[in-house]
């Protein structure tokens, strides 16, 4: 699984939004993922295939339905490549601080 495919897949806002939707509710069908999208079913399907090719989405057939699952393993591999074990707690603390400050700013 090439890292190029992962970065290419993540470079598109529509595809990142599809991953966000799966994070909120995992295991959705194509039909469910199309709901509320200003896009054709074919276009959504094409984006999902690209995400699947990058291994960011894993699918499972249950009966006649194909369900889509967020697969964060390639993102973990990218993090493991550049982020050292001992940097993680500090980076997490910074990310938590940023989120808290930005949430406060939005109130």
């Amino acid at each position: 699984m090439s890292m190029d495919a992962v970065f290419k897949a993540l470079a598109d806002p529509v595809r990142r939004q599809l991953l966000d939707r799966l994070r909120r509710r995992n295991g959705q069908t194509l039909g469910e993922l199309c709901r509320g999208q200003d896009m054709s079913r074919q276009a959504v399907s094409k984006h999902l295939l690209l995400l699947e090719a990058a291994n960011l989405v894993a699918t499972q057939k249950s009966g006649r339905e194909k369900r889509h699952f967020l697969n964060p393993v390639p993102i973990q591999e990218i993090a493991d490549r550049w982020i050292g074990k001992y940097e993680r707690p500090r980076l997490r603390a910074l990310a938590d601080l940023k989120r808290k400050l930005e949430d406060d700013g939005n109130r």
């Binding site: 699984m1 291994n55 894993a58 393993v73 973990q76 493991d80």
Partner: protein, 148 residues
């Protein structure tokens, strides 16, 4: 959906047999699974335990299916956090498929209840474990040790 489920996939440059060994051998487990290891004879019906490095019991259950080196299904319950223990048994399936020069490992972890706190808890751990397992099998070095 009435159940909670995670499905993780990783591709590893190894053989199905080596991957099976990495999943079922305590010395391998300790290297990539946060220092924990599993205790089982890996026969269908055998008991299964996940133990912390200090010997405390983390999780326990039973081997439901063992088809070496293709498929392993575990009945799995948390034993160290009361609120997760209360959710009862989950089911964890490992599927190993040769795909050219790599092996596809699919891990499915599910429980028959919506919005499971147990599935939420294990979901964060699996990507780290699988990434470290991949590194160990491909380079001989796990990720969670200094110098790796």
């Amino acid at each position: 959906m009435a159940n909670s489920r995670f499905l993780y996939v990783t591709y590893i440059r190894t053989t199905p047999e080596k991957l099976w060994q990495a999943l079922t051998t305590p010395e391998f487990n300790r290297a990539y699974w946060f220092g924990t290891w599993q205790d089982s004879t890996w026969q269908a019906g055998a008991s299964w335990k996940l133990l912390f490095s200090d010997g405390r019991l983390g999780d326990s259950g039973e081997v439901l299916e063992a088809d070496r080196p293709r498929r392993l299904v575990l009945k799995w319950r948390n034993e160290f956090r009361p609120e997760l223990h209360a959710e009862g048994y989950s089911r964890c399936t490992f599927e190993i498929e040769a795909a050219g020069e790599v092996v596809k490992l699919t891990v499915t972890h599910e429980i028959d209840r919506p919005q499971s706190a147990f599935i939420e808890a294990v979901s964060g751990g699996w990507p780290k474990i699988l990434s470290s397992l991949k590194s160990l099998l491909e380079t001989g070095m796990p990720l969670d040790r200094p110098g790796a």
